[in-house]
Symmetry: C2
Subunit: 523 residues, 2 copies
């Protein structure tokens, strides 16, 4: 099975059914099928062949869905770029993946022009605006490309063929391109469907960023089950509530920060009909009980389901159903867990020698199954370190209770999850360390009601230098890395950092005062 | 993923949950896990290695489920024998598959002894009685084997490894062993779960024969989702109703004949609590609307779902949900279809050159997907004829309507489905033709309220021979082939058969008078 299977099935059994609805534009599966086949023909005409990469730098839109399908239909590999990354970060991803075509929308056209100019082997840039306007100079128009192209047959990629490269931040500061095959993505989709998520009849709202595989989980599942798709270009509480009401949305995936914003949104006393909404899947970053309770109070008929995983797992590993958030399960603390292994994967907690640990003993969480990535693009060493005997080493520390529930207690990789985005401390530290006045730095996550965690930096000035000003350090970072990775707060210290016997900074001690009385666990 | 995955998961997340309940004996997953690991150890001690075959000739029982799991846990290949077949038929299957071990129960011990004596390379016979009695001479006791064996680790077969050989009747009279891999069986299970069948919380009743993959579909799905299993040794309406009430059964797979017997069963005015039952999946053999209506009236809160497929497809290809049996869908005649392609497979109707036909045009139904069998055991030519470019040629004729619904109109292979069992005309004709007084014969299916179709033979006597007596011909068959394959009625004719231009007997004309005013279509 490949990722276009669901489209082929929809064309067979539900050609007149609603496929996409965005900004008043509604298309049936027959229309989407025709557009996808033309898009694939257009990509072929631009020199895209089987296995070639097509990068996308766009906000959410129905055309983004067409691109996920059309790139696969053409036999190519999609590279969804993080539209919150800085230009140097996306330049690195483009240089690494070497796409033949880069598709951008209006919001990212200037960045795209800069990026294309920087690359040694510049891609054709396709401009997918949301109207019929002429493309900027040097770019091809998306609609014109479709209109000028004949539909081509599905390239019918095999399950083991590469479907996408999804970039994630790296522990060493170098982004890693997670290679996922058609089989990987469809295994996850079938797994989600088998767990009762995103089944036939779903109206899925693309509210989380479409470049993220957290949203991709919902997208590929709904594409397989033949549900329909609604979109908001970018998250805002009002836009999401409007879309739910207008499109009769049934399911949406949100990161905890979005849930908090929705729960606390002042809707001006509007009476809305949100009765269609039945489920909110939330990503596995820390969410406070208080926020979850406020959200549940605001959406009393909605089930909240936690999904824990990572891009390398296509992405789901465990699920915590709504029943585990309430009643007796809650009294037993299960709502603080990440749930249990989904139907299709094996989950274990192992020690440093990969031996399974007894229940209750913390170690590294590892996952095996046909959702485990094919590897990191161009990084065989990183792949070999991460996937051992088929087990993906998540980098997360946790334990498994006697009843199989997994509790994530820390992240081995020293990663901060802020507003649903992964921030690797090492990357921020690498940036701060370039500042002339910084001698030593350590970056940790501290609790934030809004972001789950916020990026916090400890800095020790260079002897003889004037102590750096926090705002200046933050501005320094903003020029170099994505805004969401930059510290929101900086603590300039004069005393040296606490060190381990091996001379490693004891971040746990730095972090401890901020987390007193709170759990850093997921859920 | 392999077929023991669900057991490993159940041991992790639900060790104390109910796994099996049979004749008052209730076992948890922890107990089943221990017994399966010991059974695997026992099989290994009998010389069974990876890829070796273990045949089973038993009625339904909890131990049959243990065998499905234990044989896989040992790394071996299960060969479930049809316990309605004659001794020569099963002898052929055993000679073909060459098992190291044959497991039988009390009902089949005498047959097993005879079979073992006939084989060139006789297997070890294990006697799985339902109590602690001593095994017959020359056989090993099942419980004693478990008690004497240490648990061994799961052999962890790979997805592409063979999991089972399931024998089906052949068009040429030679039975074919359908080779299904772990990936095949798990793809079907995930497909069923994704379609909303057999999910977590299911209490599945093994009422259809466990050697059949129709029941196997439910079994492998429930093993994956971690539901629990109840059993009746052999189908009877009273036993099934008792089991539903006692075990709070939620789901059961039945063939249409069983549904008819249940619908028409005189329960002596008993008041039963059957409220747990939510779904009856019925296999794709002809079921009359009248029977379905009577069954629906008897089980007003139960959803009937039709599954169409074949062993070669692991086994499901299409599904017809309950909603398509009632209301507007029924007025449109959808209840007479076999439903639409399930989420994971491609279904097409093609002409004799494998070109897809326009909607509404009858041709052969072909199916592609990771549920398509690995091939026929020892029959590469039959495999090559059946699976072309990944498309399984079902041998069934049908058409696909514009909305994707598949209507089965006839069986290319000239197969009769009687009481849920496949009967190949050629096999019955081969048998009848051996009778000294038979010149010509033709076997067809004619309508039967009880069996869906019943096997009917037309016979032309040899010139100069006395006309054979129907009862004598039926008795002649019963000595040679399984009872359910034997004609229930015989029409001895004096005029020659109608022939096609190519000299082929026109069975359609022979059959026509019996089917006047009826549809032979599935559903």
């Amino acid at each position: 099975m490949n990722v276009t299977h669901g489209l082929r099935r929809a064309l067979q059994v539900n050609a007149d059914g609603l496929a996409t609805s965005y900004e008043g534009r509604r298309r049936t599966w027959a229309e989407i099928g025709d557009r996808v086949a033309r898009l694939a023909g257009g990509l072929r005409s631009l020199g895209v062949g089987n296995g070639d990469r097509v990068a996308v730098l766009m906000a959410n839109a129905d055309s983004y869905l067409e691109l996920y399908l059309g790139v696969a239909w053409a036999g190519a590999v999609v590279v969804p770029l993080n539209n919150r990354w800085s230009v140097p970060e996306n330049e690195a991803a483009l240089n690494d993946s070497g796409p033949k075509v880069l598709v951008v929308d209006r919001a990212f056209q200037e960045i795209a022009a800069r990026l294309a100019g920087m690359l040694a082997d510049p891609p054709v840039v396709v401009y997918a605006d949301n109207d019929d306007g002429a493309p900027p100079a040097g770019m091809r128009g998306y609609e014109a490309l479709l209109a000028a192209s004949e539909p081509v047959p599905d390239a019918m990629r095999a399950p083991a063929d590469l479907a996408g490269i999804f970039y994630t931040g790296g522990t060493t500061g170098r982004a890693k391109g997670v290679m996922l095959t058609h089989a990987n993505l469809m295994a996850n989709a079938r797994n989600a469907l088998a767990e009762g998520l995103f089944g036939p009849g779903t109206v899925y709202l693309h509210a989380a960023p479409m470049f993220h595989l957290a949203n991709g989980c919902g997208m590929y599942s709904v594409l397989l089950s033949g549900g329909s798709n609604a979109f908001v270009a970018a998250f805002s509480p009002a836009a999401v509530l409007d879309a739910i009401e207008r499109e009769r949305v049934t399911d949406v995936l949100l990161v905890p920060t979005m849930i908090q914003m929705l729960a606390d949104h002042d809707d001006g006393g509007r009476r809305r009909d949100l009765t269609s909404l039945r489920r909110i899947v939330y990503g596995a970053s820390p969410i406070s009980e208080a926020v979850l309770d406020r959200a549940a109070a605001r959406f009393p008929d909605v089930e909240f389901v936690q999904a824990y995983g990572q891009t390398e797992l296509s992405p789901i590993a465990t699920l915590l159903p709504w029943a585990d958030h309430v009643g007796e399960a809650r009294r037993r603390g299960r709502h603080r867990s990440a749930g249990r292994a989904t139907l299709s994967v094996d989950v274990r907690v192992v020690d440093e020698d990969d031996r399974e640990l007894p229940r209750g003993t913390p170690g590294q969480i590892v996952v095996r199954g046909d959702t485990v990535m094919a590897g990191y693009w161009n990084q065989p060493d990183a792949t070999a370190a991460a996937v051992v005997d088929g087990w993906m080493h998540t980098g997360d520390a946790g334990y498994m209770a006697a009843d199989g529930y997994v509790y994530v207690v820390d992240r081995v990789k020293d990663m901060i999850i802020s507003g649903g985005e992964n921030v690797y401390s090492a990357e921020v530290e690498n940036c701060l360390a370039q500042h002339p006045a910084v001698a030593q730095c350590a970056v940790v996550g501290i609790p934030s009601e809004r972001w789950g965690e916020q990026v916090h930096a400890f800095v020790v000035p260079k002897p003889g230098s004037p102590a750096p000003v926090p705002d200046e350090l933050i501005a320094f970072c903003k020029e170099r890395i994505a805004g969401y990775k930059c510290p929101l707060s900086v603590d300039v210290r004069t005393e040296p950092f606490p060190l381990s016997g091996a001379g490693k900074i004891l971040k746990r001690e730095l972090r401890a005062p901020y987390w007193e009385g709170r759990s850093r666990a997921v859920g």
